[in-house]
Symmetry: C2
Subunit: 337 residues, 2 copies
């Protein structure tokens, strides 16, 4: 099955480019409220499931043991921008767990935040693994291993207890069976398992509502939800969509972007989760679709959902980013209850 | 019509992302040799037609009048990297025509070349319009206007003589009628007209062979072809695909990338042109398809045509970029004559 076109970019009076994809909007009981595209075909959720991957960090008692709070929980769920604030919270998390940045296995890239990256170049500073957008997740994995007396070396391998625990949590939250056949290696070297968007959306609905979860797990989900929405600057960074939308709708939505055009979110008041994947991996389309979904449930965030004007290097209006009728139909169905 | 998937990216044992698109391979007489997707639906060629847009620069006598040579012709066809060498050639072109960079209407962005951009940040230097990847094309447009005594102000507007001449050349080379209905504003603010890939490919075949052109136009096309292939470092820049493939096959192919996943090329020995557009605009896919086409005609460039390994931030092998059976079938058809 080919997924339908969801987002079009126009230039002049013609469509220049188009992005196909799949979206699922699901209740906590797993019921599919609305979908467009093949919501049962597995997709790699990449970083969009970091809030779920953070559950063992709380459930094992690591957060409590090391005296950690909302900031450290939020950065554990982050694809952060590598600002001094992000780096400081990650370094603090590691230090409180008796660890150093040398234990991080995520790799190194320049900070996502362009201004911070420029300032580092200006000063002649090299990025470290702390600047990697996944360093908070890795620090939480390391702290969990340290808390339980497990080896910290190799914590990124699929058969390390840290990753086995995460796989079991993901299976419980999504209802999926995660075999090696659906396992890939993520950009930051930890395992990532492909799952249907419908199941991912259901997991986010359960995450936001606690429905069907044990009281302890529901409580830990609520703590993560509260930490990410309260410290939304730590989950992404200045000017980024995830941070802006969570600031615009405080405590109402948890959203998380992932590489290759994936996006997951929880709409707490509606009791729904959503998951989407743009077939070609384009962030410009995944964020546009996420904005349309959220604005349908929260009209006060309408200004973040384009029909956006495309401008060129001189600021001239050259075209539009717009939702297709197929996406509009799914949006209408999602609220027609 | 939906265009077929041409390029897939795998992670583990699954396809993670996919890019749909259209390709046409055409003879100089306009005969379509092979195609995949809707080769008759107009696409914006963007910067991929700069070698055609440069024709009036030669045909009006501007190049001869100002004593310009292959370097200035190549940079007029460039989406260049903004290195000191590119900036120097563009500035020299303007100076020889009695103009200054203040006349450029392309806008400003940082150099595409990451090392040059870093060095400028380190030194606290701001980019200028000379660093814009299209500054050479704009300088050639300005020089043409100056040569003919036309106003240089507003040279980017569709009804300025500079743009009218370019439109007529494009119509003659492609056989298309370019009405305002298919006109968009390009990233650098000049008009860009949507044309079918089959027609664009035919224009590049005529460009490389001279077939069906007047002797003067055929000669000017040959001069542009020779300039771009001899000075391929000026057409793009260090490490970029256009430059690398023209260096690998000296004098045999002219290739030109455009924004939003467009690619045009001329295969001189085969007497063919090709044009392609990735539906979602992804350069990673347009370059992969171009590499596959060129390698089919020039096996000595096979190493530039992946099945490429995808590596993550730690250098681990996480997946592949590969051609689909639909693209493979088109490639086979293109050489089965």
């Amino acid at each position: 099955m080919r997924n339908p076109i969801l987002i079009e970019l126009t230039r002049g009076s013609l469509v220049e480019s188009a992005h196909a994809g799949v979206v699922a909007v699901t209740r906590a009981d797993g019921g599919l409220v609305a979908a467009v595209g093949d919501a049962q075909a597995p997709v790699f959720p990449r970083s969009a499931i970091k809030p779920l991957q953070a559950l063992p960090f709380l459930e094992t008692g690591a957060v409590q043991r090391f005296g950690l709070g909302p900031a450290e929980i939020a950065v554990a769920c982050a694809s952060h921008s590598g600002t001094p604030r992000h780096v400081g919270v990650v370094e603090g998390l590691l230090a409180k767990a008796g660890l150093t940045p040398a234990a991080l296995g995520c790799g190194v890239h320049e900070p996502f935040d362009a201004a911070v990256a420029r300032e580092m170049i200006r000063r002649g500073e090299q990025p470290t693994s702390l600047h990697h957008n996944c360093s908070g997740k890795h620090a939480a994995m390391l702290a969990t291993a340290a808390h339980l007396g497990e080896p910290t070396d190799g914590y990124w391998l699929p058969d390390h207890p840290v990753q086995v625990r995460i796989r079991r949590v993901l299976e419980a939250m999504t209802g999926c069976s995660l075999s090696p056949q659906v396992c890939g290696i993520d950009g930051c070297s930890v395992p990532n398992w492909a799952m249907p968007p419908a199941a991912l959306a259901g997991a986010f609905a359960r995450f936001a509502t606690g429905a069907g979860l044990t009281p302890q797990r529901a409580g830990d989900c609520a703590r993560i939800f509260a930490a990410c929405t309260a410290c939304s600057d730590l989950v992404a960074g200045p000017g980024r969509f995830d941070t802006l939308i969570m600031q615009r709708l405080p405590g109402k939505v948890l959203v998380k972007t992932g590489a290759e055009g994936v996006y997951c979110g929880a709409l707490r008041d509606a009791g729904l989760g959503f998951a989407l994947k743009i077939e070609d991996g384009a962030k410009r389309a995944s964020e546009a679709v996420a904005a349309h979904i959220i604005a349908r449930f929260h009209p006060e965030a309408q200004e973040m959902a384009p029909d956006a004007v495309l401008r060129n290097w001189r600021g001239l209006d050259v075209g539009r980013v717009r939702a297709t009728p197929e996406l509009e139909a799914m949006l209408t169905a999602s609220t027609a209850r």
